[in-house]
């Protein structure tokens, strides 16, 4: 079951969902609209290697916007901190964003129960597109879980700004180097 916008608002007020800052006017019928923050991260590696910490550079989106060329991939942040110990959040593009050919995540839409922080957006442009600080770029939905809840204690907890991949911290699985 998916929460309605009215229920999201109620659960935020009751402290069972974190959306901060929160503006009830941004509740849609089934989701909450997320704004783009200012910070970006761009990788500097010629070839990314999930086993190595990737060199990267931090940038800021200026007031006049930041132009993405087709094929560009950058990490960005939601302006809001989001999370819940009770409902499973999922990230989606707003359809207005998708209609510009802009992905807001790269097939990683599901957030773990217990995570709280700024969500890292994985922006991938298929058309030339200008992005603006504060633009409503994405939306988050909340889903009712079934079963005993064990909360997230992972490496991206309390994310402050866009977080690079930390796959290089993974423990190798037995049977594979």
């Amino acid at each position: 079951m998916i929460l309605t916008g009215t229920e999201i608002s109620k659960q935020v007020r009751g402290g069972r969902i974190t959306v901060s800052p929160f503006d009830s006017a941004r509740c849609t019928t089934n989701s909450y609209d997320l704004a783009l923050g200012r910070r970006l991260v761009v990788y500097q590696e010629e070839v990314l290697d999930p086993r190595k910490e990737p060199a990267h550079e931090q940038r800021e989106i200026p007031d006049e916007g930041y132009l993405l060329a087709p094929g560009d991939f950058v990490l960005a942040e939601t302006a809001e901190q989001i999370g819940s110990d009770h409902y499973v959040p999922m990230i989606h593009a707003k359809s207005g964003t998708a209609r510009l050919g802009l992905f807001v995540h790269v097939t990683a839409d599901l957030i773990d129960l217990g995570f709280v922080g700024q969500s890292t957006l994985q922006l991938y442009a298929t058309l030339p597109v200008r992005i603006w600080p504060g633009m409503l770029i994405a939306q988050v939905t909340f889903w009712v879980p079934y079963g005993e809840i064990r909360l997230y204690r992972g490496k991206y907890q309390h994310a402050d700004g866009p977080q690079i991949s930390r796959s290089y911290q993974d423990q190798p699985v037995a049977g594979h180097a």
């Binding site: 086993r51 991939f73 990683a108 773990d112 994985q122 879980p145 079934y146 005993e148 991949s165």
Partner: protein, 165 residues
Amino acid sequence: MILTGAFIDEEVRAGRIVIDPYRAEALNPNSYNYRLGEHLKQYDEHSGQFVEVHLPDDGYVLSPHRMYLGHTSEVIGSSVYAMSLIGRSSMGRLGLFLQVSADLGHTTSCHRWTLEIVATRPIRVYPGMVVGQVSFWRNRGELAPTPALYATFNDPSESRIGAPQ
């Protein structure tokens, strides 16, 4: 409703979810981490066909903006729950798509899933690395399974659209 990790674990043990091989440490709060299998197919524009690649242990570099077919190491399925198979955020943060907007796994399917892999930047991938997550969802209503096609395949399998019946 989406199953929690603890409940996925219970259902695997009860036989209502199949994840093989299964590692309890790969459970997340509301999903399970699957791994990349060792076979890949890449599209060859000259022949118009997919060519097989065996992933070496020291990894294989994917070219950006090119489509590859891969597969999960694990056989994954359920005759009770519907599934959604996505990339994990540590791969999304590296710009690696694990599927091309086809995340839904039908109830009753059980096989190694074909992954539609697209890199947005050059990236090295390794056989057996944890690349994505599968979540399980409760159904409402009577189950009337459609005949399985892709769900009978365990290797990276190209589209059968337009193929002879």
